[in-house]
């Protein structure tokens, strides 16, 4: 489903990975509220990890808290924060980049081989994991909402450093 952005913000490019990039998605979730209301509640804390996205090629992580139809909190996360997340999606920068670029080309709709589920189901290139299988299942319970959350990145330009 094609997502909408406020015109004045649509042209400003945002770096990936960064908290700002995910905050931009959180803002778009408000803009696209009708779509998310149609999909239903989403209540979880999702961690997105870019395995080589930090300084010196180290991992970089952000945690996004979803409540009802909004992303209410976005914060960078360190190794000690992992228990706060219900589940983690981790992949290399190249994988995230390819997925984001495909979604942008599809104007908010990934092709058949770049959905979150496609990329994560075999365990690679995206690995979804949690210390608790019940909390990991939240990734499946809210899969469509999470997909639309990421799809909204097509509404603004992303640039990749390095």
């Amino acid at each position: 489903m094609e997502t909408q952005a406020e015109p004045e913000q649509a042209e400003r490019a945002v770096a990936f990975p960064s908290s700002e990039w995910f905050e931009r998605l959180a803002q778009l979730m408000k803009v696209n509220r009708a779509l998310h209301e149609h999909l239903g509640y989403i209540d979880c804390v999702a961690q997105f990890t870019v395995l080589d996205g930090g300084l010196g090629g180290k991992p970089w992580s952000v945690q996004v808290t979803f409540e009802e139809f909004e992303a209410t909190d976005v914060r960078e996360a360190g190794p000690d924060d992992v228990a706060r997340a219900d589940f983690t999606l981790e992949a290399s920068l190249a994988t995230w980049r390819e997925m984001i670029e495909v979604i942008a080309r599809g104007r908010g709709r990934p092709d058949l081989t770049h959905t979150l589920n496609y990329l994560s189901h075999p365990g690679t290139p995206i690995r979804v994991w949690s210390q608790d299988p019940l909390r990991k299942d939240l990734f499946f319970r809210y899969n469509q909402s999470l997909q639309e959350f990421i799809n909204a990145s097509a509404a603004f330009r992303t640039f990749f450093e390095g």
């Binding site: 509640y41 709709r109 058949l112 189901h121 075999p122 299988p133």
Partner: protein
């Protein structure tokens, strides 16, 4: 001959027994037997009405939790919000109200005149309760979707013959198996007393989910070419679920194991989908399925945690699982399931071997997920699991 006399001269039609003679006779007999109870109520009411008198006893709030009003949270008025009001949220460990009188209503003083519903046999809370059932019920309502309207059917593309047949066979399998997850809870739903209304409500959402899954896969197959082959292996797995001796055992086999494996198939279905229509179908379904799996995990955990003799309860579950796993395995080794998935995974009939290799990797992951869910429920199957960790075709 006048019209009237012609009718009078006709012989009466031969008398025929009612098609439901015995059932109706039993019903008559039963309610005549209880006539002193309900007929007294009827007479009393009729007498009062004849006198032009009002009772207004129902306005008496002495024994009610009256006036403690439920307040909505940000997402509306949920069962959790209502259950926080004193007088409404306490579930009995054992239901003694075996009729429809609502939990929290003024009902004690009417007990002697109320009937007993003999079908309410699942009277212990720990035979059906799960700590996440209220959350799952609210989530299920919020995340309902419509298989007629929410799937972009007009975008359905024609696939090469081998891929279309494989897709339609996979949909035939799913059409065949999905509604056992409706029939099984339905079989137990009417046995759960009204005091456990949250469980009953959640099970109704599961019924609706499964109706929609059966609908969407049937539609997808018929829109793409048609339904293909039913399979005896599927049928035995379904029978093993529906015939499970207890609600908890059947919920373990259906929700935790069966739906856990079907969740993997839905995830595979989304991954191997050759059209956006199919991706949307599988993504929507896997969300519903994951809710059912979550209920199964915590229902089993709650049952074992509260069993009077945990060790014996665990051993009994193991005995059941030893059989159940094998029967479910029969279904998941059927050619009518394994081969179409392999063709879709590989990308065509000529690449079926490659698809089987990929499926072998997914098998291992699915079995590990099953064992993790058992662990989470406090049911360690790792030493006793009868489903091979490696796929049967990957062991050669």
């Amino acid at each position: 001959m006048s019209q009237a006399s012609r009718i009078e001269s006709l012989r009466p039609l031969p008398s025929s027994r009612s098609m439901n003679e015995e059932e109706v006779a039993r019903y008559e007999s039963e309610f005549k037997q209880y006539a002193t109870k309900w007929a007294e109520i009827l007479d009393r009411n009729a007498d009062r009405m004849k006198r032009g008198s009002y009772s207004l006893h129902w306005m008496n709030t002495d024994k009610a939790a009256w006036g403690k009003r439920a307040k909505p949270s940000s997402r509306g008025l949920t069962y959790t919000d209502v259950n926080h009001v004193p007088g409404y949220g306490v579930l009995p460990e054992k239901a003694t109200w075996l009729n429809f009188a609502p939990r929290g209503s003024v009902r004690d003083e009417y007990a002697a005149e109320m009937p007993i519903v003999d079908d309410y046999t699942l009277v212990n809370r720990d035979e059906s309760w799960a700590d996440n059932v209220v959350t799952l019920y609210e989530e299920a309502k919020a995340r309902q979707w419509n298989a007629t309207r929410d799937i972009p059917w007009s975008e359905l593309e024609r696939l090469p013959d081998d891929l279309e047949k494989a897709t339609c066979q996979l949909c035939t399998f799913l059409t065949e198996v999905e509604f056992v997850a409706g029939d099984f809870p339905a079989k137990w739903l009417y046995r759960i007393p009204q005091d456990f209304l949250e469980v009953k409500s959640f099970l109704v959402t599961q019924l609706m989910d499964e109706a929609r899954h059966q609908e969407v896969f049937r539609k997808r197959a018929i829109a793409g070419g048609g339904l293909l082959h039913a399979s005896p292996g599927f049928e035995w797995a379904l029978k093993a679920i529906i015939d499970a001796p207890t609600h908890t055992m059947g919920t373990f086999l259906l929700n935790l194991l069966g739906e856990g494996l079907v969740l993997s198939i839905f995830r595979s279905g989304e991954m191997i989908a050759k059209t956006h229509v199919d991706k949307e179908i599988f993504r929507r379904c896997l969300q519903d399925e994951a809710r059912h799996v979550s209920y199964g995990e915590l229902e089993l955990k709650n049952y074992l945690d509260h069993a009077p003799n945990r060790e014996a309860a665990v051993e009994e579950m193991h005995r059941f699982a030893d059989v159940g796993e094998q029967v479910i395995l029969t279904s998941f080794t059927e050619a009518a399931l394994v081969e179409p998935v392999a063709i879709l995974l590989g990308g065509g009939l000529d690449k079926i071997d490659r698809g089987m290799e990929g499926q072998g990797r997914l098998w291992k992951m699915s079995v590990e997920e099953y064992l993790q869910r058992c662990d989470r429920a406090g049911f360690d199957r790792r030493g006793r699991c009868t489903i091979p960790i490696e796929s049967p075709w990957g062991q050669n």
